[in-house]
Amino acid sequence: MSYTLIVAEVRRGVFEERNLDSLGLGTLLGGEAVLLVPDGAYEAADKLVDAVVKIKAPEEVYLNPMNMGKILEAVFAARGKPDHILFTQSSSGMEAAAYAAGLFGMPVITDVSGYDSQAGVFLKSYYSDKVFGQFKAAGAPAILTVRSGSFREFAAEKAAAAAAEAMEGAPSVEARTFVEYVEEEKADIDITKAEFLLSVGRGIGNQDEVAGYEELAGALKAVLSGSRPVIDKLWLPKARQVGTSGKTVKPKVYLAMGISGAFQHIAGMKDSDCIIAVNKDPGAPIFQYAHYGIIGDIHKVRDKLKELAKG
């Protein structure tokens, strides 16, 4: 019988919300939906699937891609191979999905954000969402990683509660082992508390320009934050990063300058009350999420705003 295997992501006891997107895509794909989850006190979405397979293994063992390979082998042996295997598009989901694809010789499509059931094609971002490719898997099972926020509205409750079954966890491999979690260092400022964020991105060009944006933030009484490229280049400290690997913010106003709007950034700021974007590229994805937009040279806008704010 054909089925979709949904590999749940759990982290420090939390059933991650982005699993709902995998569950939603699972519904769209049709057939039996089987959820894989480590055995524990996770608030698993039992009603949203047909069956739950609980792996008797600690979370750190389950999340390890090499152990996941063994776990998948056991699932295939018990249930046969699924048509699709869904992982979350996340640090651990991406890692395990790609490794499993190599291990089992299966097709892999990552960062799936759309599905056309008529054509059987999956939508995958290219060039930071400027264009998308429609992809078809040449064989089954196909491994997919699912973009957070893309399918959760399709997750639907089933008539009957899922049948739960326990499965022995595979012995954990020695070749890769979890040591410990490392928390981020405490920072001088908490950007999640700011009402008004001025956020800068790659478009600012070079480090010498940062000072001018600090001045603008000062003049507008905004807090300065940034997108990943700015943090990676150490132009702003890590604590000021907005996005999935940084902070999720919801200020009253989010003014984005020179940020094109990679999905990981959007995920960290899309719930802001008012988003204003300034970018020279009219096709920048951020304009799709912004309430107000200005197409133009961000440095000129910066300098004019400073001038007007002082006047």
Binding site: A98, A101, P107, G114, Y127, A137, A175, V179, Y181, R202
Partner: protein, 258 residues
């Protein structure tokens, strides 16, 4: 430690408006500049740092057309000893095909290694899957989103992986292994034009990709499409001063600026 590091020449599209041609057959990149993939720049730097500390040598490998020689010269200027180009004119969209080609190349040419570094993803296709596919195919231990390499020992490395929301996990990985490097792991050194010119004198080896297996593609690109239009923003138009005045007006209305 012998380190193989992969580096890719990619279209720099961040500031460019992209156009899809025909009925979605291709994305027009004819006017777009090319550069080294950001993630690979961090990977090359990390490889050179490991070797500076622990000895051994770095071999930079690029899969691509003849123009990709440019990213190999760059890697050599940063400290790689050798540069190998696995030359192909094909755009390999399928990460599986890429992984299989690399596996076959390493195997057939008997390229020695202790650690293979890739970037987490390339800026163009953003698959983020080649490193994992390669590790799975070769049966090697794997870790991705590597944001710190804390220790390089004889038979293992201690690394930190970037998770979400600022959290990291420390992991022990046995060598030989494949690691995919996250951007921001280090501060890549500056590469001068002089440095690249000097690196040009180091011979780069060219291998024809046709000589290796890459299997049949496991995924098929059907067509290219533009992103679905969502609500979209209200665009502020006019002279610079006017537009900026409107912006300040919105800030006042939202109560964040007096």
């Amino acid at each position: 430690m012998n380190i193989l590091v992969f580096t890719k020449r990619v279209a720099a599209t961040q500031e460019e408006e992209l156009r899809i041609t025909g009925e979605g057959q291709a994305v027009d990149l004819s006017k777009v500049p090319f550069k080294v993939n950001d993630w690979d720049n961090y990977s090359v730097e990390e490889a050179v740092r490991i070797v500076d500390k622990s000895g051994g040598s770095v071999t930079a490998i690029s899969i691509g057309d003849a123009e990709s020689d440019e990213v190999l010269r760059r890697a050599i200027a940063m400290g790689a000893k050798d540069g190998f180009l696995v030359e192909t004119g094909d755009i390999l969209n399928d990460p599986f095909t890429r992984g299989e080609l690399i596996r076959s190349f390493i195997d057939k040419e008997k390229v020695p290694f202790d650690i293979i570094l890739t970037g987490v993803q390339s800026e163009d296709d953003q698959f983020g899957a080649v490193g994992g596919v390669l590790a799975g195919l070769m049966g090697l231990p794997y870790a991705s989103m590597v944001i710190g390499i804390d220790a390089v020992e004889k038979d293992h490395v201690i690394i930190r992986r970037e998770l979400e929301g600022g959290l990291q996990e420390k992991v022990k990985v046995a060598t030989p292994c494949v690691l995919s490097i996250q951007s921001g792991i280090n501060e890549p050194r500056y590469v001068s034009i002089m440095g690249i010119r000097k690196a040009s004198k180091v011979e780069r080896k060219v291998f024809k990709a046709d000589g290796y297996e890459k299997g049949s593609p496991k995924i098929e690109l059907v067509k290219w499409v533009y992103p679905e239009k969502k609500g979209g923003a209200t665009m502020l138009d006019g002279e610079l001063a006017d537009v900026c005045g409107q912006l300040l007006g919105i800030l006042k209305e939202k109560g964040v600026y007096q």
